[in-house]
Symmetry: D2
Subunit: 343 residues, 4 copies
């Protein structure tokens, strides 16, 4: 069975596995104070070329979003997000579980539009009854988005500028950050990102790790008592070495970027095959997720040989389906897909 279901069906990158083996007999401190976590933080600071980062390692994406957002917001504040942002659609109400409203803006190709954001904050500021409304407290973006699209430098600059004007911290969910940064269309890097938002996370689970996300507050702006907040969210890992070692490896010799780039190269080939096979694309994605429209009958047929996700209904007869490459996708899997679809 050929698998293009997602980017977390595989084990862990061999380099990480090797380091887990090497370090296994060493005793270490816990709760984030182990030496590998320290080393990983240093390496992230170096690649970001910024000393004043506050870095924390958490386990998974939903947990990270819920903890960071709850940490940044006051109790009575909500988070502004696209209507199809991950926190609004695929986290089972984890943000609301901690008392915060997700305030939604329209999605334009999966992205938040600067005009929608400006309009929202201006209407809010001028609303006579604004004190009766959930207060906006921050802005949440995904990069890449749920539909694989990415923001340009200019788009993030505009959003961040509005955020600063209205005292709304900007947080970027980077569950697939590497795949976004390595996209041919991306016009910035980590160094730039660190200077154009207040917080982001570097996704590990979907890019080579077994688990783990690295939260980066970009200017020593971690919420007060963030360690206790992590603990209160049930997100503090006792054996933090597990995530420390993984990020220490991912940020050695640019591994994170190399394996992200690999997924992009595989995605280019995937896209080419899907085009040749005559599929319509639901959206133009420059990253490792590709969304095509497939009639229900065809889905059934393809699913006998290929694992992929039918994402959302497109119309009465067809679905938007998702094919994903990853750091682990092998050339022979692509070749096999080509055979199935094009012969």
């Amino acid at each position: 069975m050929l698998n293009f279901e997602n980017d977390y069906n595989n084990g862990v990158h061999p380099n990480i596995l090797e380091n887990l083996i090497k370090t296994n007999d060493i005793q270490s401190l816990t709760y984030g104070f182990d030496k590998w976590s320290e080393s990983a933080k240093l390496k992230i600071k170096q690649i970001c070329n910024k000393e004043d980062l506050d870095i924390f390692f958490l386990c998974g994406g939903t947990q990270t979003n819920a903890t960071v957002i709850d940490g940044i917001l006051q109790s009575y504040e909500g988070v502004i997000a696209c209507e199809d942002g991950h926190i609004n659609v695929h986290e089972a109400g984890a943000i609301e579980a901690f008392g915060h409203k997700v305030i939604t803006l329209p999605s334009r190709n999966g992205k938040m539009n600067i005009d929608d954001l400006k309009n929202y904050v201006q209407v809010f500021e001028n609303d006579e009854s604004k004190d009766h409304v959930a207060q906006p407290g921050m802005v949440y973006l995904t990069f890449p988005t749920e539909f694989g699209t990415i923001y340009s430098k200019k788009e993030i600059e505009e959003i961040y500028s509005t955020c600063k004007q209205y005292n709304l911290p900007l947080f970027i969910d980077g569950a697939r950050l590497g795949y976004g940064l390595m996209s041919d269309e991306c016009d910035f890097d980590l160094t730039w990102l660190c200077r154009n938002c207040d917080c982001f996370y570097i996704g590990g689970t979907k890019i080579g790790a077994l688990c783990g996300e690295a939260v980066v507050f970009t200017h020593n702006n971690a919420p007060k008592k963030f360690f206790s907040i992590i603990k209160r969210h049930g997100a503090l890992m006792a054996k933090s070495r597990l995530i420390g070692i993984q990020f220490d490896t991912l940020f050695t010799d640019n591994l994170y970027f190399k394996i992200s780039k690999h997924a992009i190269i595989m995605a280019h080939q995937l896209k080419e095959i899907l085009i040749q096979a005559g599929f319509s694309f639901y959206i133009q994605s420059p990253t490792n997720q590709q969304f095509i429209i497939i009639p229900k009958k065809k889905i059934k047929e393809l699913k006998q040989k290929i694992i992929f996700t039918h994402w959302i209904p497109y119309d009465r007869n067809s679905f938007v389906c998702r094919f994903v490459t990853s750091w682990a996708t092998r050339q022979n899997e692509i070749d096999e897909l080509r055979k199935i679809l094009l012969s």
Copy 2:
């Protein structure tokens, strides 16, 4: 200054005041066990022609919505509402404060559309990843809506039928229930309503009382331990006599309906005046709230003589403004408005 701002600028209906005076020296039980609360419950059951109602008196609207919704839902469930439903826009995140997502559907003239609801539940049911999503747990309607519009018998029947099919209790926010029921366009009454939803509340604050809303669970379906839930929400009134006496009076000699009808008659005259004055209506409302579009400059001028609300921006140059009549609106106030607008 002429006041059409809202339906709670006035004191209390004289009959209620009289009963507050009459009963003031009587000692009573507390927390809902006073004899007037008991009497009021009986009268509501009589008018509904239904014995198996569970009735509770709470203090205000947001509190009632938050308590009822949190009482009905399991922790992991959300409430389906129109995007402009009161709980989504004007309750400062009170629903989310108790951990529940407000799942929004489009608003059609302020109302939920049966096709939107059906589509939502069907897509949800067929979603492969539905367990990763905030679970729908109930449906919330307002009657009348935020824009003064009302549902027909048929519309509620269709919605309730879908609710039952998917095990989603239907809760109707009746902060202005009387004004809806007394509208010329309304084709049902309390007796019918009791049989076509699982819970509703009869608004007192906006219809003659100083405070108080009567929550009605329509078939002995009050959530388990609802008394404790009310207390936990800080919504249990010690001197419950205050609300008991008010509802006992409102449901004596059909007072609630008579004074609601009065507001509707006043609204007809108001509407006529607004039409003659040449204003465009934002929406056709058959109840006591009327929404017209007024250029900004004109708003400024009118506000020197009349209190009303500018509700939402309409376009760059004008606002949707709201004029409201109530149980307390006097004929001379309408006449005065006529003079100002038409002479």
Copy 3:
């Protein structure tokens, strides 16, 4: 039936009733902006002889505690209270409902002891794992306490001094504040209190009002966006005039203190009768609540003529029972009790 059950079995003080009647036809602003609320705030500032008070009117005690405590605390913080403090035992988990732990200290005669408090904060500060623990964020006292006892000037000074040293705002629950201040044993007044805590509330429900508590932040230290926090708690009253008029009356001509004093005088007589009748006192209370130990059999007998509460079990055969006087207790009720118990 003679009623010594509690201090909220009666209606409203006649002066308040009169003002409700007088003002009933006047239209007013809402949500706390009515003129009576404004006037009541001024009068409270005058009696406190302090300009920089932030004052808010809420409806009931549990609601007030939950709103104030949630407003003061950060999400990850808890409130330090006596184990028998109202928030820990009689509020159905309303503090926890908003995510905050009640951190309990022993009760000494219903009161928090300075040594227990100091010991707690010192142990906490020196705890290696203190970041894994619910963070203390404020201190909560009741005055008078659940058992009618009161703190002295010196006791509050010591507690407040420790609070300031550890950055823990001090909040005093004054549901029965007047009865405490008017006790013969009380050695301070409102003016002093304003300078020796960060927030307190003046209870109305139990002292002459139908509902309403006045929250006082003592040095313009209301939590940011406290209005929205009140709304989010479902605690914002639309017709705020109801509470405004009541507090405006209570703080006219020292009514609040006069009627509180009356309850204390009645309590002295009550106490004398209970002593003469040979009952043992569970605790020495200088305020309007008296706690005596009564054998179960005797309770049954007395309850045929008198309403009172059996509070907590004392031993296998007897209960601690509570008798309460109030602003509304009449001399003839006391005389009647004397007859029953002493003849």
Copy 4:
């Protein structure tokens, strides 16, 4: 530096590491549907000799407690625990974060006493104002306790019997379950435990795994929608294989019990050394945690050579200190400790 700080300073058991290596190239399903999770569940059912277990794998202890307790309780319910139970003292308010009160009973040698529990539920049931109180919804025990002590068969039977009488599900926190079961003093096994509580978890993090706890609902009584509840808590692991493989290994060839037993053997030797060195024991612990009283000066001296925790203050001059053995403790570490303390 000799390390007796805790039981999670080491890496992972070699057998697990081997299986992580072996399986690394295999693609798998996610979110708990991978084949190793399935296999681990089967093995746990076999060893428990019970088919009707609902088993879920979560990441860490606090997360597991918060998720299970929130899953079992209704919103308005609290959990009964010892005052020194982990959820009350070392989880940073994670239970309260989801709205639930921790209702505390005294700790007797770290354990809940059946008489305290019975007394609590009886007083609650007979409390006139019980509806105003946080409702008890379940009972939480730790096995072994925070102080390393264990319950006997009889003690658990008595508690469970009372639980069933009052409809309070019994949940046992087994973060160190293996160490308890392998203690010489333990008079039951997993098979028995499954029949004497409603839910427990088998701790992995502290017994050989890198992370992971196995939650067992003992009679197909998992809360409705528990999968969504896990997700809402941010506790759903995408690459569930990580935990699946670990538990599959731990429950192969009784590995879990063998390595737990090893820690107990090491603890016996540790205890012997501590006795010979003349230390006083704070409590008699039959498991892998030993608590001794050490003067402050001595602590300073010992900490130059040994890592251990000073747990709680004992008196002005000394601390209760904790020494811990684990699955990974080596004989030479014990020998080294002997040299330091006894020569």
